[in-house]
């Protein structure tokens, strides 16, 4: 027998928690299935400097704890459990956590994205030289030879975290320019201790019990370099696996919403009269990094979470209390 709820939020990070704050304040008592990985990507970062309202910066995990507490303060019920199955075929949406079944008329999907791997065999050295969290692991690489792969803010943060422990940090990027924010680029490029290998890809890893060498390829050919540490920050893939066959995804498996893939020619009509965050299924809304094919910031995920909550509220009650 399904446990009936007003609205279910799947995912617990910037988008999901913000949606929960809005839904809870609209007295809709949301159930938030935050996942065992609650907090998402920000749990793997240190200082967040660009989230408005924190002039001195805030640690990623603390920002997540604050958002969660804020949602709970207004009555959101939040569980760190993984959803195992969904069924959006009927008017009443069904969501399972193992044997437990929940149902509701509206669902907000905000499961975020997961770190991408190189898939050149590096997985077998995870925890033995290969890391996806420099902030967590940098201290283990004191005076070691390390490489960071990537060109975004996360890669910059990783390189800067490592350089506090070792002078042997090299950034590897497959393109000839970085896509990180200017301020983060500047910090890395002006640091004489962090050389950059431009136009370079990591194509292999070798070692006995732990990482010993990486194989790289650039326009001049291939070569091997001794390496103790390899830190990956090469982007994310949307965590939409569980949604397959239930809602429309795009070619890159991002969740499609009316806002990101409008069918009607009059986009403004969607903003005025429709539900911009609605997915291909009526009553199912999407927000955050699993939807966002462009910005992917904590603040834009939070903003989209608020939009999805307002859309869900309007869908359920016919009105939106915040107007």
């Amino acid at each position: 027998m399904a446990e009936a709820r007003n609205v279910i939020v799947i995912g617990g990070a910037s988008a999901g928690y913000t949606a929960a704050i809005y839904l809870a304040r609209a007295t809709l008592s949301p159930l938030v299935l935050a996942g065992e990985n609650a907090g998402g990507q920000l749990m793997y970062t240190s200082e967040v400097e660009n989230f408005p309202g924190f002039s001195k910066g805030i640690k990623g995990p603390e920002l997540m704890a604050e958002m969660r507490a804020q949602a709970e303060r207004f009555g959101a019920e939040i569980q760190n459990v993984n959803v195992t199955k969904i069924d959006f075929s009927g008017e009443i949406k069904k969501v399972w956590v193992g044997e437990t079944e929940y149902s509701s008329r509206a669902v907000i999907l905000a499961l975020g994205a997961m770190g991408r791997m190189l898939l050149v065999g590096e997985e077998k050295f995870l925890g033995r030289g290969v890391s996806t969290c420099a902030v967590c692991d940098a201290a283990f690489f004191k005076d070691k030879t390390t490489f960071v792969v990537g060109g975004g803010d996360a890669a910059m943060e990783d390189a800067l975290a490592l350089v506090r422990f070792t002078n042997k940090v090299t950034l590897i990027h497959r393109k000839d320019e970085l896509r990180a924010s200017k301020i983060m680029q500047k910090r890395v490029l002006e640091d004489k201790k962090i050389p950059v290998l431009w136009g370079t890809e990591v194509i292999g890893v070798t070692g006995e019990n732990k990482l010993e060498k990486i194989r790289i390829k650039d326009k001049d050919g291939e070569k091997e370099l001794p390496a103790d540490g390899l830190f990956l920050a090469i982007g994310h893939i949307p965590a939409t696996d569980i949604l397959k066959g239930q809602v429309e995804l795009d070619n890159h498996e991002y969740l499609v919403t009316k806002m990101t893939a409008p069918r009607e020619t009059n986009n403004q009509a969607i903003w005025l009269n429709d539900y911009p965050t609605q997915t291909s299924v009526s009553g199912v809304f999407g927000a955050g990094d699993m939807v966002d094919i462009r910005y992917r910031q904590a603040i834009t995920a939070a903003g989209m979470g608020a939009m999805a909550a307002l859309d869900a509220e309007k869908f359920l009650t016919g009105t939106t209390s915040s107007y």
């Binding site: 993984n82 995870l126 925890g127 969290c133 902030v135 692991d137 201290a139 283990f140």
Partner: protein, 107 residues
């Protein structure tokens, strides 16, 4: 029941010489995913009390033990049985992942 804390000083006596299997969570305060693991480790310590000893080791304060087991990434959770490493999980593995490790040694 919260998980116990191990240190370099008592690791041999409390972990390696323990009659029960011992699950050790290698963690640090600055590590975000370690914070995800912490409440799960505490919960499991209560559930499996008497069958498996479940504890934590702060890698900052106990670098000797962490280095001795080649811990280069946290959280790392290692199951010890009869003084030897039986299994390890690197990175946050979720409640299911840690329970699976425990069930393997409790049968």
């Amino acid at each position: 029941m919260a998980a116990v804390h191990f240190s370099d000083a008592d690791f041999e006596e409390k972990v390696l010489k323990s009659p029960l299997p011992v699950l050790v969570d290698f963690f640090a305060d600055w590590c975000g995913p370690c914070r995800l693991a912490a409440p799960i480790i505490d919960e499991l310590a209560g559930v499996y009390a008497g069958k498996v000893t479940i504890g934590k080791l702060n890698v900052d304060e106990n670098q000797q033990t962490a280095a001795g087991y080649g811990v280069m990434s946290i959280p790392t959770v290692i199951m010890f049985k009869g003084g030897k490493e039986a299994e390890r999980k690197v990175g946050f593995a979720g409640k299911g992942g840690y329970e699976e490790m425990i069930k393997k040694v409790t049968g």
